[in-house]
Amino acid sequence: MATFGNLTDRLTDAFKKLRGKGKLTPADVDGTVREIRRALLDADVALDVVKDFTARVRERALGDEVSKALNPAQQVVQIVNDELVSILGGQQRRLEFAKNPPTVIMLAGLQGAGKTTLAGKLAKWLAGEGHTPMLVAADLQRPNAVTQLQVVGEQAGVPVWAPEPGNGVGNPVKVAKDGVKEAQRRQYDTVIVDTAGRLGVDSELMKQAADICKAVSPDEVLFVIDAMIGQDAVTTAKAFQDGVDFTGVVLTKLDGDARGGAALSVASVTGRPIMFASTGEGLGDFEPFYPDRMASRILDLGDILTLIEQAQKTFDEEEAKKVAEKFATDTFTLEDFLAQMQQLKNMGSIKGMLGMLPGAKGMREQLDNFDEREIVRTEAIIQSMTPAERRMPKLLNGSRRLRIAKGSGMTVTEVNALVNRFEQAAKMMKTVAKGGVPQVPGMGPIPGAGYAGGGKKKQQRKKGSRSGNPAKRAAEEAALAAAPKTSVAAGSGFGLGSAGQFGSGAAGDPDAKGGPSEEELAALQKFLGR
């Protein structure tokens, strides 16, 4: 499959340069804005729209107050996203129904945008909402479009008004007009008029559409547009706005992998709201449009934004500073360890969090290897200790350990392992906090870092060693585990013994932000072989 997901990589690269900077300089912003411009063009956003957009982002990035919880790179992403959402969702609204039924909804768009299929979906959706829709087959152009609408209507359980056979025979204006009258007579409360596909440049057909529009005076004119459309979206949208003055937009074929930059172009050029998204071939694959989802889709940022948001919410800088201090003065206790872990847990399931990283969807297998309960178990052990023990792990003698093991439902060995791990981590943190380089080898085989184990498998695959020979794999894994880089990059980032290491970001770098820094994200991503 095509590899278009490289925007994240590019932005990560651009952001790397921003690393460690507390404030954005114009040069930093320009570099990032260039990448965003390219990304938007790759996503088929119209050029003029891109220009306006990047200019606004630039302005805001330079003018905005510096957020405490986010680093500069994350801030730019945040700004970009805010802007995208505000354009896409600026004017969210629902369908408007006429005071005197029937409500007339007319569909218009290019050939092959998916109007007929959409007519069926809309009808089914309306029926589900308690309305009584009727379809009108006013596409008399395309061979057997009428038949298609009849089949679709049957599937949706909605009547179809099709007096003309189509295939170039009949007058669509008359059909549409009669259809509305018929609906009135038979007391249907909504009428959906399916029209023929037409090009924006075809003035004759455009006039016909305008005539249909005049004849039925629709309450809503929906412009149906294919999410895959390129730069032409703007020209076409303008032509249709001039021709039939549509009141809303429907984006179709969103189940493909097109980024759908057209959505942004159309929304910003015409100022009309995007009302629905169509996401599949089944008649039920139809939903209201969510601007925020579309924004991340256009930029291909996965749910990195959600991640940023959560980091913003969960980590407060003060807390991180306190911890850093504790590391430095050797007063880091098991209580702090527990607090750190709980903070980490507050961010939601770690599996979910990893899944949110762009490109991480492919690593489900590795994620499954990560045992979330490991954290729960560790928590249980610590909570079975007395406050004094938590503060002074040295108190823990044999009988205390046995009591703790019983209290937490674990074995003494596991209690021992935790205490050892804590001591190691605390020692290492102390070194880091004082500006030294941590001794990593001890970190390798941390039991909690089951996740790192998964990662190793992926690396192995990349090297081409597909051998099912467990001994060989084990040997390789051992070798990899020994490699310090590996365990620092990922295992420590999210593994168990790492709760300490996690704090190290804050400890080592005084003005670091609480959340996962882009450095960590980048390292993680690289590690995952993206």
Partner: protein, 292 residues
């Protein structure tokens, strides 16, 4: 709708630039904007602009007219690198037509059937789009207009591979020259449907070689066209591209990226809903329409 309804052309948006006296920074910006607006995509645009900058440097020209000529030559050369000839020498020559939803596969088949019939070939079309409502009827209407025979599925939702098989069988039995097989539109991300294409291929290949697999691309498509091409090449072994809806305001610049990245030539061009609106691909004409 007066001015918007004018067909957009690269030539139009370049006119300002070429009417200037010398080549300056603004010229390059305009050129870049124009190429991007024609859906060439950022990568190809960068490469074309870099190439032209180098030529301008080399020939030390300052005349925008030279630049225009160089642009035309550059695009034409890029497009002409691959051979656009259709190979339909086998008997029967089987042509499989694939693409995403709504690009104009069925319409293309109708026009292609007519085109072949005009050249004195007998044609049978296979309605292997058993999925979309009324697709079979749509194809039947086109076949009738194009003077081709048609093989329809016996039941709604029949396995498309079996329809393809029956079509080829009929051609072999009755000595029909050309077999055109219509498939259901599928988005390249639906792996189940993409595998189905692989099956259709395998089934046909048991009977005879497949002469051409044509991927139909909509000229209004943007950069996603490349993703489509790559997926269909992988699953269906595409041998040629068909660019449809060129009569609209979109010029389909993305096909250049597709052609360069995949090495698959554009073979046919569709320019309208009339049955005669299908022509072979000539780089010269294409570029002429584009640049003017």
């Amino acid at each position: 709708m007066a001015e918007h309804a004018q067909p957009w052309s690269l030539g139009g948006s370049l006119r300002g630039m070429f009417s200037r006296k010398t080549i300056d920074d603004e010229t390059w910006d305009d050129l870049e904007d124009a190429l991007i607006s024609a859906d060439f995509g950022p990568d190809i645009t960068d490469s074309v602009v870099a190439e032209l900058r180098a030529s301008v440097e080399r020939f030390r020209t300052t005349d925008p007219a030279d630049l225009k000529r160089m642009l035309r030559e550059s695009l034409e050369e890029r497009l002409a690198r691959l051979d656009p000839t259709l190979r339909l020498t086998a008997r029967p020559a089987v042509v499989l037509v694939v693409g995403v939803n709504g690009v104009g596969k069925t319409t293309t088949i109708g026009k292609f059937a007519k085109f072949l019939a005009n050249h004195g070939r007998s044609v049978v079309v296979g309605a292997a789009d058993t999925f979309r409502a009324a697709a079979v009827e749509q194809l039947a209407t086109w076949a009738e207009r194009g003077g081709a025979q048609i093989v329809k599925p016996q039941a709604q939702g029949q396995d498309p591979a079996s329809v393809a098989f029956q079509t080829v069988e009929k051609a072999q039995r009755e000595g029909i020259d050309i077999v055109l097989i219509d498939t259901a539109g599928r988005l390249q991300t639906k792996s189940g449907l993409m595998d189905e294409l692989g099956k259709i291929r395998r089934v046909i290949e048991k009977q005879t070689e497949i002469a051409e697999v044509l991927l139909v691309l909509d000229a209004t498509t943007g950069q996603n066209g490349l993703a489509q091409a790559q997926a269909f090449i992988e699953h269906a072994g595409v041998t040629g591209l068909v660019l449809t809806k060129l009569d609209g305001s979109a010029k389909g610049g993305f096909v250049l990226a597709v052609q360069e990245k995949t090495g698959i030539p554009i073979k046919l061009v569709g320019q309208g809903e009339g049955i005669g609106d299908l022509t072979g691909f000539t780089p010269h004409v294409f570029v002429q329409n584009l640049v003017g």
